[in-house]
């Protein structure tokens, strides 16, 4: 095996208090270096920030992996648009297996607050909204306390630190729909409407919240902006491969000895991640059956594929999967993979917003068919049919939800078809 990556020291991390060992409040945060250098960031031209973000290769941590610097550069200049601008933070963390944002909100909320300040300034926004998943009630109140502290310390509000920059941040609690994590559904929900994705174009950068230019980013992404901007570029780029730089929080769960959230360098081999940080697979690596590498919508990997997997945006693509939210779900040989995948299909059936036809009608069909086949009721023809249905849904819908719902099914059929066939034989 190749040389292992070093473990991150506190000063290498964007979220030094992710484990909650220290003080989550403003005192603790400032002791760890928080808000230091904020004033200077607010006095630097936004274009410089965007330029540096582009160079840093910070890519969206919410799953899509789009370059943050690029995304921010799509926003018009405030003087061009003549409208208010908004930065919206997507804290509607709902992807099964994913729980990284929760720990950020819980144990290091000021990282997000500072990110919102810098982000709003860079994007020309005077107001930022943080849309927190409804179930994260406790986390949202901690976030609100952090915001209060930031106001009291003069990091939020009018004329921050005498720089003339005004930023207000508001927290909005969702009502528990997974689809509100889709950025335009989130905007609809924030506007008080039914949470359903919008048609694109127009894109939020031109026509977002209340029809104004808006950028929407994941919690982790926004919180990583200040450290990236404050440090020299190579503080960040020394980690990870080209175009995948930096550190990233991995949520490791399932059949591992020590399930955890951990900030580690990008491009870490999957096996190393599990062995080094999560105490290894229960029953040893050879007891491994399958791994979902990036949250429930990323296609499943077999043990063989998992051994080759490099955990970054470009490393999982050749394996037919993706990094997603970097929520690693490990399944050893005690796990009934078909049951897990059927349960995931049930989740998507439950969470489809119902707006467009293929998703509304198709996802439930896929779930029912899969459920039946996983119990051994059906024919081998229906396995092909199941695949065909997923293909009639994928790429035909308004948003990417349906794609994310179909990929795990396709992955299961690709790698674990024999499990179905076994069941079908038994079922006879």
């Amino acid at each position: 095996m190749t040389k292992k990556l070093p473990k991150l020291k506190l000063e290498d991390k964007c979220f030094p208090n992710l484990d909650g060992a220290g003080d989550w409040g403003i005192k603790g945060y400032q002791k760890r270096g928080g808000y230091k250098g904020l004033k200077k960031l607010l006095q630097t031209a936004p274009a410089e920030h965007i330029d540096k973000l582009k160079k840093s290769a910070l890519r969206g941590r919410g799953g899509a992996g789009f370059s943050t610097g690029m995304k921010w550069s799509f926003m018009p200049k405030p003087e061009q648009s003549g409208k208010p601008h908004y930065l919206v933070c997507n804290a509607d963390e709902g992807e099964p297996g994913t729980c990284k944002d929760r720990d950020i909100l819980r144990n290091d909320p000021h990282t997000l607050v500072e990110g919102m300040i810098v982000g709003c300034y860079t994007l020309g926004a005077k107001a930022g909204y943080i849309y927190v998943r409804g179930e994260y009630y406790d986390e949202s109140s901690r976030l609100n306390q952090a915001i209060r502290e930031a106001y009291d310390a003069g990091f939020l509000g009018k004329n921050i630190q005498g720089t003339g920059v005004d930023v207000d941040v508001y927290v909005h609690l969702g009502a528990g729909a997974y689809i509100c994590g889709e950025e335009t559904a989130l905007l609809e929900s924030l506007e008080g409407k039914k949470g359903q994705p919008r048609l694109k174009p127009p894109f939020p950068a031109g026509f977002g919240l209340y029809g104004c230019p808006t950028t929407i980013n994941n919690v982790e992404t926004i919180a990583q902006v200040p450290p990236v901007l404050k440090h020299p570029l190579d503080w960040w780029t020394r980690w990870g491969r080209e175009n995948n730089h930096g550190t990233k929080i991995f949520s490791i769960s399932g059949s591992v000895n020590n399930p955890c959230n951990v900030e580690a360098p990008m491009s870490i081999p999957l096996r190393e991640l599990i062995d080094e940080y999560a105490g290894g697979v229960i029953g040893g690596w050879d007891n491994l059956q399958a791994i979902i590498p990036g949250g429930s919508s990323t296609p499943i990997l077999t043990k063989e594929l998992a051994e080759q997997a490099i955990m970054d945006f470009d490393g999982l693509k050749p394996l037919g999967s993706s990094l997603g939210t970097a929520a690693v779900v490990v399944m050893n040989k005690d796990v009934d993979v078909l049951r897990v995948m059927t349960r995931i299909a049930a989740f998507y059936k439950h969470e489809s917003c119902g707006q467009c036809t293929p998703c509304r009608e198709g996802v439930g069909w896929v779930y029912r068919l899969m459920h039946r086949l996983a119990e051994g009721k059906g024919t081998a023809d229906e396995l092909d049919q199941l695949y065909a249905i997923t293909k009639k849904i994928e790429g035909r819908t308004i948003c990417a939800f349906a794609d994310g719902a179909m990929w795990p099914v396709q992955g299961t059929l690709r790698h674990f078809r024999e499990l179905f066939e076994e069941k079908l034989r038994d079922g006879k």
Binding site: K349, H350, G354, R360, V363, G364, K392, T397, I398
Partner: protein, 701 residues
């Protein structure tokens, strides 16, 4: 791929290839627009040209060269040089996929579905549906919703296109329809089950591409292919929307709208759609005569006997003691013939068609119409309503007012305030506010003065007030001051029906010192009128005629309480049973056509007056419809064949008459919307629908 550069498209246009054919579409057009330009029909469910784009049915998918996935053409913007394929494998497979998904949970109950035969899903499934199902799971069933007397729901059939929701929210302006639930559990309905309160709800029936929302009164009465359609005009309000009456075996079964951009776009009011039952119930089908005057019973008789009785009644009576009143549902032919009968055959000038109290005459055409054509209402940038509730008086025009409000035009109201589906600024209850506006000092006055195209709408009820002429004068002066340019005349009077306007055009009012409505009624009650010809109910009740001992001749369509008081009853044709010319509020003359013949012995109205004239006095000089129309055209050029369908210019000559504006609050001409005319009051469905909204209206009051 063509390598030669495209020739530049005309200014503001784009070059787009659709199935290899080059078309030009304006910038900002969608791919679907481009396909339309190339005469390629794109199948669709959710898209509707008068609603916002939802892009949710995914039926309209096409392939665009260079795109990895099929694209929903209804919302995708066309781009320069784009190559679209509507017939490729990718496009067709995508549509077939969508169709399969739509059908898996759609019941196969076409044989008992009222939409059958005119269902978009049924039609498109012929082209894109499979011939066998792969779906072996249980089908979804959805509870039907009770959303009132107008619309029958079978919600298992709903394909969630949200057209109904978008119509209710965007066009009708009532936030009553919506979707609850997520995913396959999503249900369309009224959130909390309740009757829809919109006067335009019936349009959702036409919009619904499947049989989820169907015409409730029409349910199970006929199949669409059994019906014979007649294109005609809705004369039940002053807008004159284009409609089609569908009849079977001599009975009008239903009414549906036709498209007409200038007037009703493609909408229809519920009062017109759901009142067709009135056309075939409680009708007068034979002449009737009361034997033994005053005491005896009305009995069916022949035309000759009825005519003889009238001849007897008018014999020797002084012309000043004869009078005639006409209702507001009559065509130009009816009105012209009636007036000619009264004035020329009987020699009496006591004839009127106006509401009691209305003294406004027809000398200036511009004074009695909407000088702003309906289509141009869309351009208004400020609105003043004077004693007018457009939501109830002309729901189709209220759609246009909503549109300008959305664009930012303020609406000021003088008179009673009601929920018009958009916010208004209430200036006051009385016409005195007009004086304040004329002074020009208040914010509202300034807003009207600043607006480039203000719209002033005076409700029909205003005219029937003692100070009616003074109010019209004040409104006219205000219009002269702020709302008149070479290209804009913002002065509008909104009458209650087309017939009312048509009657004024036909001069059915006393011209040479005869009595007006109020006077006629008073003299009848006091027995100074010996024979009263009552042509329709004229919005009267039996009490209005109580005490009169003269001969009452009733010419009309229904056995109303007034008809029951008459001594002679002559059965006439309803508006759906004759060819007639009607002016609408903008002064546009349109022709109705007969969908069915008059029932049994009933006759077309002009023929009755023509035949009767011969009996009682001078024979009227027309024997055919053509002759009558020629006479009408000569009398009023707007009714000449070449003018039909157009708006003739109405020169402005000032309006009304100076006078004192009283402190009596202004009210709308329409109280109970569903019972607004004598026609509606004969409809059982209308009564149900009125009862349904009555509690709502009380609550609002």
């Amino acid at each position: 791929m063509t390598t030669t550069p495209l020739p530049p498209a005309p200014e503001g246009m784009l070059n787009v290839y659709v199935d290899g054919r080059l078309v030009h579409v304006r910038k900002g057009a969608t791919v679907m627009d481009a396909c339309k330009a190339a005469e390629q029909e794109v199948p669709h469910f959710c898209y509707h040209k008068r609603l916002s784009v939802a892009g949710n049915c995914r039926m309209c998918m096409v392939e665009i060269e260079g795109f990895p996935k099929p694209v929903a053409s209804c919302h995708w913007p066309a781009a320069e040089g784009m190559k679209v394929r509507t017939d490729s494998e990718t496009a067709t497979t995508a549509r077939k996929g969508t169709m399969e998904f739509l059908l898996i949970n759609h019941p196969l109950d076409c044989p008992i579905c009222d939409q059958g035969g005119e269902c978009t899903l049924q039609d498109l499934s012929v082209a894109y549906g499979g011939d066998r199902s792969h779906f072996h799971e249980g089908k979804r069933a959805v509870d039907d919703k009770d959303i009132g007397a107008k619309i029958k729901t079978v919600m298992t059939r709903c394909i969630h296109c949200t057209r109904c929701i978008r119509f209710a929210t965007e066009i009708a302006g009532v936030q009553e329809m919506g979707a609850t639930g997520r995913g396959e559990a999503m249900q369309v309905g009224t959130y909390v089950e309740s009757a829809l309160t919109s006067e335009l709800a019936g349009n959702m029936i036409d919009l619904c591409p499947v049989g989820a929302l169907t015409n409730r009164p029409f349910a199970y009465t006929a199949r669409p292919w059994e019906l014979v359609g007649t294109d005609t005009i809705d004369v039940l309000d002053a807008v004159g929307g284009h409609i089609r009456l569908d009849a079977r075996a001599g009975k009008v079964m239903r009414a549906v709208p036709r498209e007409c951009d200038a007037i009703n776009e493609e909408w229809m009011t519920d009062a017109a759609r759901f009142s067709t039952d009135a056309l075939s119930s409680n009708r007068l089908t034979a002449p009737q005569l009361r034997k033994g005057r005053g005491k005896g019973k009305l009995e069916n008789t022949g035309w000759a006997e009825a005519f003889a009785a009238i001849k007897e009644a008018v014999r020797g009576v002084r012309k000043t003691r004869l009078a005639g009143l006409m209702d507001n549902l009559h065509s130009a032919e009816d009105g012209y013939a009636f007036r000619a009968f009264m004035q020329d055959a009987l020699g009496s000038d006591n004839v009127d068609s106006r509401m009691a109290g209305n003294l406004v005459d027809s000398k200036s055409h511009a004074a009695g119409i909407c000088n702003t054509p309906f289509k141009r209402w869309d351009d208004a940038d400020a609105v003043l309503l004077v004693g007018c509730n457009p939501r109830l008086e002309a729901p189709l025009l209220n759609i246009r007012l909503r549109r300008v409000v959305k664009k930012g035009a303020p609406v000021f109201v003088v008179g009673e305030v009601a929920d018009l589906t958009y916010p208004v600024t209430h200036l006051g209850d009385t016409a005195k506010e007009l004086e304040t506006l004329l002074d020009g000092k208040t914010a509202a006055a300034k807003a009207l003065a600043k607006a480039e195209r203000p719209l002033i709408v005076v409700g029909g009820a205003v005219l029937a007030r003692p100070d009616g002429r003074a109010i019209v004068r004040a409104a006219g002066e205000l219009a002269e001051k702020v709302a008149m340019t070479d290209s804009w005349n913002g002065f509008n009077v909104l009458h209650d029906t087309c017939g009312r306007i048509t009657a004024l055009d036909m001069a059915v009012h006393p011209a040479h010192g005869g009595m007006a409505t109020a006077e006629i009624l008073e003299n009848w009650r006091e027995n100074h009128v010996d024979v009263l010809f009552l042509y329709g109910d004229c919005d009267l009740t039996p009490a209005d005629l109580a005490g009169g001992r003269g001969t009452l001749v009733y010419i009309g369509t229904h056995a109303t309480p007034l008809a029951a008081m008459a001594d002679v009853v002559l059965p006439a044709a309803a508006w759906s049973e004759k060819e007639g010319l009607f002016a609408n509020a903008e002064g546009r003359v349109q022709a109705t056509r007969a969908a069915v013949p008059p029932p049994l012995s009933a006759k077309e109205d002009w023929k009755i007056f023509r035949a009767l004239s011969e009996q009682v006095g001078d024979k009227l000089p027309f024997d055919t419809l053509a002759q009558l129309r020629a006479a009408i055209a000569e009398f009023c050029p707007a009714y000449a064949p070449e003018a039909i369908g157009t708006i003739l210019p109405a020169p402005w000559q000032g309006v009304g008459k100076k006078g004192k504006l009283t402190a009596k609050p202004l009210a709308s001409s329409v109280g109970a919307y569903y019972l607004r005319t004598a026609h509606h009051r004969e409809s059982a469905w209308m009564k149900t629908m009125q009862a349904e909204v009555a509690p709502v209206q009380e609550e609002a009051a």
